[in-house]
């Protein structure tokens, strides 16, 4: 893994590298570097399996993080490629031509995070959500509890009491108060 990373460093501009395990490393790369790098990994280094493509919303940094995890079956090792996208302009190049399965992931990311992958097949078709009417729900500025309360009927008859407040109301006459 170490040699592979050294090798990659020579060929591609790589960002920060985390070696999580001897057989698992994460590399952060620029948006433009991803495609040549992942093609290189697939065709030259034996990382033939796209394990997953997922995203994280770093709302505080105003970034989306895409993680492409690829697996090398022969040597049982994985590399995760991270791409940081600005949240306000998160468009990313599609890799469905490299792995057809990527199209499904990309469709899901479009739906749940609103990250567009132009050219990806069936990208705009509904995946899990049908008739979704709010911002993509995996975005962290989406308030799921609020949405649930506004959209769905909850059973009436609930209501709680704060022990401290309740005790003060019941025992308030003892001692002074502010």
């Amino acid at each position: 893994m170490r040699t592979l990373l050294e090798n990659l460093k020579e060929r591609f501009p790589l960002g920060p590298i985390t070696e999580q395990r001897p057989d698992l490393a994460f590399v952060t790369v620029e948006r433009e570097t991803l495609r040549p790098l992942i093609v290189h990994l697939r065709d030259r280094e034996g990382f033939t399996h796209l394990v997953l493509l997922t995203a994280v919303d770093w709302i505080e940094e105003n970034l989306f993080q895409l993680t492409y995890l690829v697996h090398d079956r022969a040597r049982a090792r994985d590399i995760g490629l991270r791409v940081m996208l600005p949240r306000d302009e998160p468009e990313m190049e599609s890799i469905h031509d490299l792995w057809p399965t990527a199209a499904t992931y990309q469709r899901e990311l479009k739906e749940m995070f609103g990250i567009p992958f132009p050219g990806s097949p069936r990208l705009d078709e509904e995946f899990i959500l049908e008739g979704w009417v709010d911002i993509p729900p995996y975005r962290r500025d989406f308030d799921t509890l609020k949405f649930a309360h506004e959209n769905f009927e909850h059973r009436a008859g609930r209501g709680t009491t704060d022990p401290a407040t309740h005790m003060r109301e019941r025992m308030g006459t003892q001692g002074g108060s502010k």
């Binding site: 959500l129 008739g131 799921t144 769905f152 909850h154």
Partner: protein, 225 residues
């Protein structure tokens, strides 16, 4: 960052459901409106039972002892239904069996959470079942949302959308609890109180309004059967 216009996806009608003109094998052209033509679009009606009490009692007994369950596992609770078919629990000895088609089933077991997408299918399946039909809500999720109480995509109160005859507490209820629920349902049926289908027909507008409130892409007729 919340930009309603670009992020909110309006819900277009699916292509295969749009009105269109097709050419038949005989060369004649005719218009097809799938939503109208492919379904029987009729309002449900209240169907009273037999007026002869003893006959209705006999029928109810037969209905209770012959529960045919629609094999549609909506949520995680479906995993608890499977053991019932195994020799370990052997639900068949209680007159319970699973049918693969809603037409032949009388009992719809909502096995846990219903996502909005599943709800749509569940409603269609329910409406295709023949009266009298029963619904059993399984576990917390059907009662008040369960662990998905704050989820953006699951309904919280099943009885808002379908008439439920019996609820079984648990997350998920054990197969034994399910059997107990079915036994309770049998009791209710025998007592002639399991009239969910008529309830649904009576309060049809209310149910539809609730259903349409959460199913934003309503692209089917109001009643599918």
């Amino acid at each position: 960052m919340r930009d309603e216009d670009t992020l909110v996806r309006r819900v277009p009608v699916k292509d295969e459901l749009k009105k269109r003109v097709v050419k038949g094998p005989d060369g004649l052209e005719f218009e097809v409106d799938p939503i109208q033509d492919y379904y029987c679009d009729a309002r449900p009606e209240v169907r009273p039972g037999s007026y002869v009490k003893i006959v209705e009692d006999l029928f109810n007994w037969a209905r209770s002892e012959s529960l045919w369950i629609l094999g549609f596992g909506t949520g995680c609770g479906a995993i608890e239904m499977r053991p019932l078919m195994t020799p370990r629990f052997d639900a068949y000895r209680y007159g319970i069996q699973w049918r693969p088609t809603p037409r032949q089933a009388n009992l719809f077991v909502i096995s846990g959470y219903l996502s909005v997408k599943t709800l749509k299918r569940a409603i269609r399946s329910y409406e295709q079942m023949q009266s009298p039909k029963y619904v059993v809500g399984l576990g917390s999720c059907t009662i008040n949302g369960g662990m998905y109480w704050d989820s953006y995509n699951t309904i919280k109160k099943l009885d808002e959308y379908l008439p439920v005859d019996v609820y079984i507490a648990g997350c998920m209820p054990r197969p034994e609890a399910l059997l107990a629920g079915f036994e309770e349902l049998k009791r209710i049926i025998r007592a002639g109180k399991a009239e969910g289908a008529n309830l649904y027909a009576q309060n049809f507008e209310w149910y539809k309004a609730n259903q349409k409130r959460v199913i934003h892409d309503w692209d089917m007729p109001d009643y599918n059967w």
